[in-house]
Assembly symmetry: C2
Homo-oligomer: 334 residues x 2
Amino acid sequence: MTPSDPQPAAFDVVGIGNALVDVLTHEDDAFIAAHGLVKGAMTLIDTARAEALYAVMGVGVEVSGGSAANTVSGIASLGGKAAYIGRVHDDELGAVFAHDMRASGVAFRAAPAGGGPPTGRCLIVVTPDAQRTMNTYLGSSELFGPEHVDSELIASAQVTFLEGYLFDQPEAKEAYWKASRVAHDEGRRVSLTLSDTFCVERHRAEWRQLVADQVDILFANEAEALSLYEVDSFDEALDAARADVEVAIVTRGAAGSVVARGDEVVRIAAHPVEVVDTTGAGDLYAAGFLFGFTHGRSLGACGRLGSIAASAVLGHTGARPEVSLAHLIPPDGR
Amino acid sequence: MTPSDPQPAAFDVVGIGNALVDVLTHEDDAFIAAHGLVKGAMTLIDTARAEALYAVMGVGVEVSGGSAANTVSGIASLGGKAAYIGRVHDDELGAVFAHDMRASGVAFRAAPAGGGPPTGRCLIVVTPDAQRTMNTYLGSSELFGPEHVDSELIASAQVTFLEGYLFDQPEAKEAYWKASRVAHDEGRRVSLTLSDTFCVERHRAEWRQLVADQVDILFANEAEALSLYEVDSFDEALDAARADVEVAIVTRGAAGSVVARGDEVVRIAAHPVEVVDTTGAGDLYAAGFLFGFTHGRSLGACGRLGSIAASAVLGHTGARPEVSLAHLIPPDGR
């Protein structure tokens, strides 16, 4: 659906997702094999598995993460007005997550939970090929449900951005439907990133329904798009996506990205960078694109902003930019 | 004093210091001025100040730190046998610190404290000139005393390495005297790094006594050495130090370092590197030097190993090496 002209919005984008602190370590492929990790994917793990995996992992670096959280943090870094909805516990990692959200300029108003599991964390193994393999202990995020959807915040944002990762829990699925309806009732747009091929496979029918009924701006990488529509070629996937949504963006790693709106198709090259760690590159692509979109840029300019923002985290370990991204924005019209 | 030939040692080096998790952020000089920070120094802060400073700091990266902890972690990374004595609380940051010690191959056997303050942290502001300004909330480390000195561990290490930072608390001073006596009773060596000019000024007389009576291998940067001996020139400071200790090492940042043992004086150039963050450079210099020393290398080779190890953390944010340092060791004799 295409919303009517929205009212002036207090926020450009509000993100909803798993509030996580990333624990990143560098290991080789033998480590991936020895511990039965699924390379390049996001695997959900329980407490016992998290403890066992952490015990064998090397020295870690802790940085706030979470896919949609990275995206809104990137939007704020570009100078946009961003907010976040997610669930942390009242503990040290929860305090780190909340601090980093607010320090990056993102409005994050939810109080930490006093009971239940600790703040979630993602144990990330970065291999020498710069690929990241994620093992997520959801913790407090596992209990995210419709009651945590801040309708007032969603109504006040041009775009509500949903990450696919959160879609694994039934309560979270309800939360996404609720958030989408609140946004559309206010004439706002809903954006979704599919996040992970395995997540698409686990919930394909429900994804297809949500995308067709509620999503205006869809982000997917090539494998996720092929899986969602169960097709064999990139062109078929792109055609299916642009029939479903207002704007479809399919990313292809080093091969760049393709953005489609109706009959308009724009191909965008990847921004050249020496890749150290791919963690968060997709999240930052979405940040650049949505910053451009909510600031009236052309589709091509939005895609180029996506590539530039992604390149800003590909060159170091971790998913958040280390410096302000605002200086990377090209002049309007480019 | 010069120990007699020691028994075969289970460990090359055991370090004693403040067990801290570093929280690093990048800010400009205006931030340093606005919040009354002492640029380049280590300032002790209480709970209220730590909370207030964290609230205004930008997005952080959390990495295990602590000066002596960084040093022994570096020694393990070089392939040496290292152990650590320090105090953490039974909380999330304490678990991170203990994990990173063990993951780097350092023996760390102390159980976390069940009561008292939380695990200590160091709020580090890195400015565009790559200088680091440290603000330490000691937390659990503040209660370190002689009862935490693991005599068995100290007796089993060739060198006991003490960081100056811990010397701010009376109980910790007692602990250093106790550790030194245990080491010397076994014919081992004691090494000390002065850590910080302000710390030297606060406790100069006690430092002088400890250095003269107990220290075999002394690390200091130029400013610390001048302050300790209250002299005006580098040469006077070096002469005073080599009269006090078996081996004196004075570091001079980008100008390299000077190592003296009796009449033998060796000048070592800094290893060329593009400096991003100086946090931990002195700690890693000590790691390289002590690895060489405990492996029978010449003074010059020890100093060069120090420079090489320091360069491995100057090029990124944080005090611990991101990859194994063992491949950086030159062949014996160089």
